[in-house]
Amino acid sequence: MAKSPQRSSSLPRPKRTLTLFLVVLLALYALVALINLGTDKGEDSAWQPRLGLDLEGGTRISLQAKATEGDVTKDKLDQARNIIDQRVNATGVTEAEVTTQGNDQVIIEIPGERKAGIVDEVGKTAQLRFRLLWAGNLPSATKPLAAKDAAAQQKIIDGIDWSKLTLDQMIQAELQGVQTLPKAYQAGIAALQKEAAGFVCNPEGVDVDDVAGKPLVTCDTSNGEVQILSPTVIPGSDIKSAEPQYDAQRAEWSVRIELKGEGKSAFKTVTTALTPGQNRFAIVLDGETITAPASQAPINNGVSQITGGFNADSAKALSNQLKFGALPLTFAVNGSEEIGPSLAGTQLDAGLVAGVIGLLLVIVYCLFYYRGLGLVIIGSLAVASALTYVMVLLLGKGVGFTLTLPGIAGLIVAIGITADSFIVFFERIRDEVRDGKSLRLAVEAGWVRARGTILAADAVSIIAAITLFIFAIGVVRGFAFALGLTTLIDVFVVFFFTKPLVSLLARTKFFGQGHKLSGLDASHLGITGRKVTEIARTQPNKAEKVSR
């Protein structure tokens, strides 16, 4: 509809800008289409925005980290996140997402199914312990012990006070057999052996009650070896550091651990007693043996290496686990939320209804007040919506941005802020016309003035969004992100769509000559005695401003 009878070279080239804008918009949509082609059928379509749990349904657990020693650092939190991620996904839940938030929060989001029981499981601290291997290389049972029998054996074990055992007694039990233990413990040993005989080593993870002061029956899930382990000889809190390292000569990855305090001396005693020979000790994480190495030499300085079939990744993973187990991070459950899919759907529907009603009201008002120019506002809001939608899709794929209910609210609120930019611009054009400029000049001059105002005002919104995003947690963040995104889109649309479109329209007969319905006619602008195409006759000084 853009007809330009004559073109002035001093004016900007709105057609080119508009074309560029539309090309960029189309390119973004093409990008989504491309991503969609690349995704498997089983995955969600790229055309679907990623919905937050409050809209899709599922379970959200927020954990609050507390450091019992020192501060909660970013490093510690990231390690904790990794471990929790492993735990959640080890329970067979698919697509559970574990993220850190703020300085001390870990958020677990499990879409779809409702899994409230998971709360207790992940809330536990990773516990790493060194135990002696009283009996190893036992086969995994095919059928687990009946619940009644298991409970009976556990009762026997629990009835014995294992804490009276000295380190030397425990070592002796490993070297010379468990029968060397005092008589009081023999019933417990028999119970442990029965438990071990009925122990099924599930590669997905073991379910045992790991208590530091008691012996333990568990297994190494990597090879299915069932073991009877002594009470803890070195607690994980005695680990000072754990690093993966590479031995170039042997072309082998290993994990170097350094112990501190009592653990250091206990380790010396244990390694001295176990060297040389086939006797091993076990490193147990959350009840599961992660490695059971033999000691090759007595270690006095508390530094040791765990070797055996590591690659770069597994060595790093183990050292992380060791470090994490050694870290004094505990988690308290801050909140756990379960939302059914259909209930979530109600929220989404209400949000969308609100958005549509809001948009319609704004459109009606703009048409009523700005008439023809109202169409420009509608067009701008339409492309802004299109741009917002595609950005939500792309950000969902790219940085995992999920649309939550507060986020949708943020988008709805932004309709008003976006429309304001157009209002500032249009009012400026009118002001310029009233000051005596012709419409076409007024568009350019009004734009120069409106631009500053729009940028300054949007800057405030952006500052608000960024500050909130950095400092806030939970729902506030989603809202801040949506607000920041739409404010940026607002700037983009005003500069590269609305302004060139108005420039272009000002050249048309309908708008440029001030048709009655264009919103730019003389009487609508409140000027008399001239047409909007004319420069006011009573204007000797051109359009000089008092303020200039």
């Binding site: 409050d54 927020s62 409230a116 709360v119 459950v333 801050n334 939320e337 939302i339 059914g340 259909s342 209930l343 929220q347 529907d349 209400a350 949000g351 209804v353 609100a354 958005g355 809001g358 704004v362 209910l405 507060p406 609210a409 709805i412 609120v413 008003g416 802020i417 429309a419 304001d420 209002i423 500032v424 009012e427 009118r430 009233r434 000051d435 105002t453 300054a456 005002a457 800057a459 405030v460 919104s461 500052i463 608000a464 500050t467 909130l468 400092f471 806030a472 947690i473 939970g474 729902v475 506030v476 607000l483 009487s523 609508h524 602008l525 409140g526 009573t538 000084n541 000089e544 008092v546």
Partner: protein, 369 residues
């Protein structure tokens, strides 16, 4: 319709003018009264904190028809669950077929027990939401940190953009005014304060300042080179800016409030309870207050602070002197019938009278004439 735009034109030209700056004492008084009421309401009634702040469990049950009967059935089901802590729950209907039940803090097992009991009583689908008592507090504390940082940044931003610390001060005062009023409305209405409310309050910050910045921008434009002018005082120019942006302020407020009103509508009438409603009320009240304060508080205050500056004072005196002289010489620019002598003694010419009619801008010449 065209009457509105003619009105806009007249506002712009200064033919129709509302004396915002001159009557500032009145507006301050009105605002002070509202703020006092809001603060009192807050102190006496306090907030109705949501479960996020108190800690507890929120169950959402889907039933055939959400009415008094099914609500009672749900309460009975909670009582029957055999969980002593779950007694005396808060129950609200939400939409046509959903009931929200809030209890005190329960363990996971107890919550599951209640869920089972609700299902037995006829709920087809039950969601549960275990909330630690510190969750809401954390959201609020973090938001407060964000708020303080935001205020500091904005003070610097406005000061840097307008080169005027007085505008920073006025903007912040207006902002606090808006926040207090919104908080007061929450205390008075008894709407629940949830993390969504906190979000709403924070958005008001952005919007309130956004609106203020737009008006200040016009004030700055109008008062550029004011020191060399002998025809207009700072206060008059600021008042003109307010009048010139009045149409924009009205339009913006309407377009911003319309979607929020839709949100409030959806929150209250479609859902009944939930984050949408909490958020929308805060936004609605805050945006109204924000639009009001940009015009009636922020700009008059910025102008008042500016008028104290010696140079501006002297300039205002020069303008007054010149007007007095003109009046004595009978060259009154004011149309006949206007109480011309009255203004000669006023320190601020933007007193209760019609603005003097002006020549078109183009004939006024540049400042200093």
């Amino acid at each position: 319709m065209s009457r509105i735009s003619t009105f806009g034109h007249n506002l712009y030209e200064g033919r129709v003018s509302f004396d915002f700056i001159g009557r500032r004492k009145l507006f301050y008084a009105i605002s002070a009264a509202i703020v006092v009421v809001a603060a009192l309401a807050f102190m006496v009634r306090g907030f109705n904190y949501g479960v996020e702040f108190k800690g507890g469990v929120e169950f959402t049950a889907k039933v055939a028809v959400a009415d008094v009967q099914s609500s009672d059935a749900m309460i009975q089901a909670v009582e029957d669950a055999g969980v002593p802590d779950a007694g005396d729950p808060t129950v609200q209907t939400s939409g046509n077929d959903t009931i929200r039940i809030q209890t005190r803090a329960l363990t996971q097992d107890e919550a599951t027990q209640v869920t089972d009991s609700l299902k037995k009583a006829g709920a087809t689908e039950v969601s549960q939401n275990l909330i630690g008592p510190t969750y809401g507090k954390q959201v609020a504390t973090k938001a407060l940190t964000g708020l303080i940082v935001f205020l500091l940044i904005v003070v610097v931003f406005i000061w840097a953009y307008f080169r005027e610390w007085r505008m920073s001060v006025a903007g912040i005062v207006a902002l606090i005014h808006d926040l207090v009023i919104t908080a007061g409305v929450y205390a008075l209405s008894g709407f629940e304060v949830t993390p969504a409310t906190v979000t709403g309050l924070l958005t008001i910050l952005g919007f309130s300042l956004y609106d203020t910045v737009v008006v200040f921008d016009k004030v700055r434009e109008n008062t550029k080179g004011i020191l060399t002018s002998t025809t207009r005082t700072y206060a008059e120019q600021a008042n003109l800016a307010l009048n010139q942006t009045l149409v924009r302020s009205i339009n913006t407020s309407i377009t911003a409030l319309l979607p929020v009103a839709a949100l409030l509508f959806a929150g209250v009438f479609i859902l009944g309870t939930g984050p949408l409603k909490d958020l929308a009320l805060a936004l609605f009240v805050g945006m109204l207050a924000g639009a009001y304060s940009s015009i009636f508080i922020a700009t008059p205050l910025a102008s008042q602070l500016k008028e104290r500056e010696p140079a501006i004072k002297a300039q205002a005196a020069r303008v007054m002197a010149r007007r007095a002289k003109e009046a004595r010489e009978g060259e009154t620019p004011v149309p006949a019938g206007a109480p011309a002598p009255a203004r000669t003694v006023r320190p601020s010419a933007a007193a209760k009278r019609a603005q003097p009619s002006r020549k078109p801008r183009s004939q006024r010449g540049k400042g200093g004439s």
